[in-house]
Symmetry: D2
Subunit: 164 residues, 4 copies
């Protein structure tokens, strides 16, 4: 899918991609956020395919980009929230190989008062995997912290997220 | 939970544990298979807790032990099946820290003709995480391979697995 | 160092960089090959810095790119050589943090009949680490395979490599 | 080497082994500290052997055990030192495979005022790898901290370490 009109598509790597860039390589709505990367040798298993655990790492990479870009956490300030996974899920659809280019996408599908559900996907030659995670926002002392109205509005507007 | 009667329990590490050993440290039915291990420094994240991805690795470790012990694959013979994950899931319940002892458990909960659903758990001070995976048995050429009657009988007898 | 003339330098990520690109961000001679990447959350240790092991992974990433680009192995054909590490070394110079951009460089410093010595570096805000590896070229049956004259000429011309 | 007198040796896994235990499986002087473990599926590379980077992880595992056992750091108290690697080295001697038992050993070979040089080895069927690391002891503020006389005496007595 990273080929368009017979040419290898040139995309910025490791910098979040916007909706226009995602659509240009055939990644459909409602995906609005993604990061391009390339399969590493150390991510292969003994059978020569990407190992099952690596997909979880990629979802983590795109999730951290998302948290920074959507303003959830700067991973620096003392008062930043703790964003804790309650659940994570991966569905494997097609094997991947060494050096393959891919885009890992992320969006918020649903939000509640203090938690939200994200969805992920890995697009390369085809849709290789999908995933999801339930994330709870805590204060540094472990108590729950409400999602701001501005954040929920942003999730709704950019990601087509809906209230839970 | 790895303390019994006030004493640190001595268990073989990295060798599969049987039902008697699991019950002796309070791991309940129907778990019948587990492997003890210890949190590594490299499994911690920047917050000092075990990172989310490590649990998936532990489920993989106990799964491979299970495949060998239950006779699904020896990871050697040319005619061995390919055991492919279709889905994996982790639910996070309590954080873990450096050097903590834990037991990762595995069982088959349900089986079909060519696939089966496994469940996993991580027990340390408490129940730290649970998980599941849907696994498909393929031949080396990628076609589906039926689970043997002997295997299904074993899964039912040892793990209380039920037909799907 | 990835800032030039006050502007963030735009470089292709994950595609090997050439000498002109390396010089434009201040990476000195004799480096002629590098790959840009970004620190991942999962590469941090419990102290919040990049863990010691990650640098070895990055040297592996750039080494595999180098092997493909210099024609040592396509990682596909049946007759491809096995390129085996005899020794690896890392010297740590300056800590790195989450999300930091860096370029991992690679070159061959010396070559013999069947083995060669590579050098590596990690450039970000400064020179963060250097490394080296001794690599032996084997046939698939484990016997040694001579480096071709064309390869040695290329290593000498591009990397200023010298005979051992 | 983990077979003695034709029987598989029973050793505690993941708990540091003492000199008597090490000698019982043929690990020679001056090694006085080791940890037994087992190769994980996720540590294999696409060729089915343990990948080069995994050995560095194992040296880290045994190093952290060593730091705790020799009293260098408890990884908890506010005044604990920061133990920072200046250099790390691995020499690869024999390939390893899935599920293989091994013992990773560690010792201090030389000590100075604020730094020391450790050596490592991996013993399984044979001596699979050796390694070394130069480690600097810092205060939490980044200034150098002298090694205590008690620590240097212990390193000399247990590990046959010598002053630099």
């Amino acid at each position: 899918m990273l080929i368009a009109n017979g040419d290898l598509v040139t995309l910025p790597f490791l910098t979040p991609l916007n909706t226009t860039q995602l659509r240009s390589v055939g990644i459909p709505e409602p995906w609005a956020f993604g990061v391009a990367d390339k399969v590493r040798f150390g991510e292969l298993d003994a059978l020569g395919h990407v190992n099952n655990v690596a997909y979880m790492s990629w979802f983590e990479v795109v999730r951290i980009h998302y948290f920074r870009n959507y303003g959830l956490s700067d991973y620096k300030s003392a008062d930043r929230p703790r964003l804790v996974l309650a659940n994570a899920n991966v569905t494997y659809k097609a094997e991947m190989h060494l050096g393959q280019d891919y885009i890992a996408t992320a969006r918020t599908a649903q939000f509640g008062n203090t938690s939200f559900t994200m969805e992920y996907a890995v697009y390369g030659d085809t849709l290789h995997a999908t995933g999801s995670a339930v994330i709870v926002q805590l204060n540094q002392d472990g108590t729950k912290r409400a999602l701001s109205e501005a954040l929920k509005e942003k999730m709704a507007r950019l990601d087509s997220a809906t209230p839970r």
